[in-house]
Assembly symmetry: C2
Homo-oligomer: 228 residues x 2
């Protein structure tokens, strides 16, 4: 597939955008990355995602797909090259979608709240909730991976992309709060999985650097303080 | 498939439960319906949906699937009988999932808020937002149906089930507020689609009666008032 046929509108620092990038990388599909600016939305973004006006957007020929999970499912479906991304079994697919919804609706949003909170009590409560969620995700990993290296079995699959994309900001949050959120004493399998995933060359090429994210976090905090 | 192999934990009045029921009906799959009580969750519900403890739950043999959209996708995937529920084309599937997320995250939640609101200004604003959403959904219908009778083409498909399940409470809300929400002057194709869908025998067998829902709505309002 020629690079000009596939475009991703996104920001380097956005985990949801990283999902689209990693899925395309797994499918060995070249693409053009168009950096967006959330403070000043481009005409392209407004044209291709008129309903939500949000990144990521995948442009494939004259079609566009929005929302990160839907984009990853589309890439899994539409690009025949490379390994399969979604499990081959219907029940395993349902499980992958269930945990995706849990991560996106319940678990991962707490990471951002924790990172931006300066209330000690709130932080404690959030760390506790994230820890309870981590134990659920450890069980999910054991159930989905069936003793293999990834949620997707012996290769990086749907849930690896979904949860994996959360790891960079999770690391930043650990530094900010001074707490190990991906705690190997509570979730030993998941901690090993995270290390394994992040040492994959395709993942390394896509996921943002922790140092750059840390700088961005400090900018965001300064901005939030100044607008209070 | 024997009835004992497939069970739905739900409530007759819940649109998300109705989705599972309609999908099973389209797949000509018999099932046992187990009525739950949200005020007193059953041991079965806690066992089969320990994470969210919510209906609907589909039990298939010794496996359980939770969350209505995931259940409908699972039924579409796992039951070979009957017409296909998801579009055969990858982009059309992405579109169906996009509009599903729009309906569930943005549009349909406003219907409940409107029904339970007694603030005239808030009601006006909600009716306006629902109307803007309806126009988007009219465009979605025209795009997805490609001139045929349903979102899914010539037979009831995924988005028909998702949006269709919202129609009964939409009708109740219209009565409560005295406003035509599925307004044929604003969304003529969608208004015709709604009539067509609701005259289908499988839909009639599953969707709750407006009168019973109306009684339930009045009970809920009395309960909400008494606990203020």
């Amino acid at each position: 597939m020629a690079a000009s046929d596939v475009k991703v509108l996104g920001m380097w620092s956005c985990p949801y955008v990283n999902r689209a990038q990693l899925a395309l990388s797994i499918k060995s599909t070249e693409y053009e990355f168009i950096e967006e600016n959330t403070l000043q939305k481009s005409d392209k973004l407004l044209k291709y995602n008129p309903v939500h006006k949000k990144i990521p957007v995948l442009i494939h020929g004259d079609k566009s797909v929005c929302e990160s999970c839907i984009i990853v499912e589309y890439i899994a479906d539409a690009f025949a090259t490379g390994p399969r991304i979604l499990p081959s079994d219907a029940y395993d697919r349902a499980l992958a979608r269930f945990w995706t919804a849990y991560i996106d609706d319940k678990w991962y949003p707490l990471v951002k709240v924790l990172r931006q909170s300066d209330d000690e009590e709130e932080r404690k409560s959030l760390v506790q909730k994230l820890s309870e969620g981590l134990i659920l995700l450890e069980e999910a990993f054991i159930g989905c991976s069936k003793g293999m290296a990834y949620f997707g079995g012996d290769s990086i699959g749907y849930l690896d992309i979904i949860l994996g994309s959360c790891l960079a900001w999770l690391r930043v949050t650990e530094k900010v709060v001074g707490v190990e959120l991906m705690d190997p004493t509570k979730a030993p399998q998941l901690a090993k999985w995270a290390e394994r995933l992040c040492s994959d060359d395709r993942v390394k090429a896509v996921f943002p650097s922790i140092d750059r994210l840390m700088e961005l976090h400090e900018l965001i905090q300064a901005f939030l303080k100044s607008s209070k």
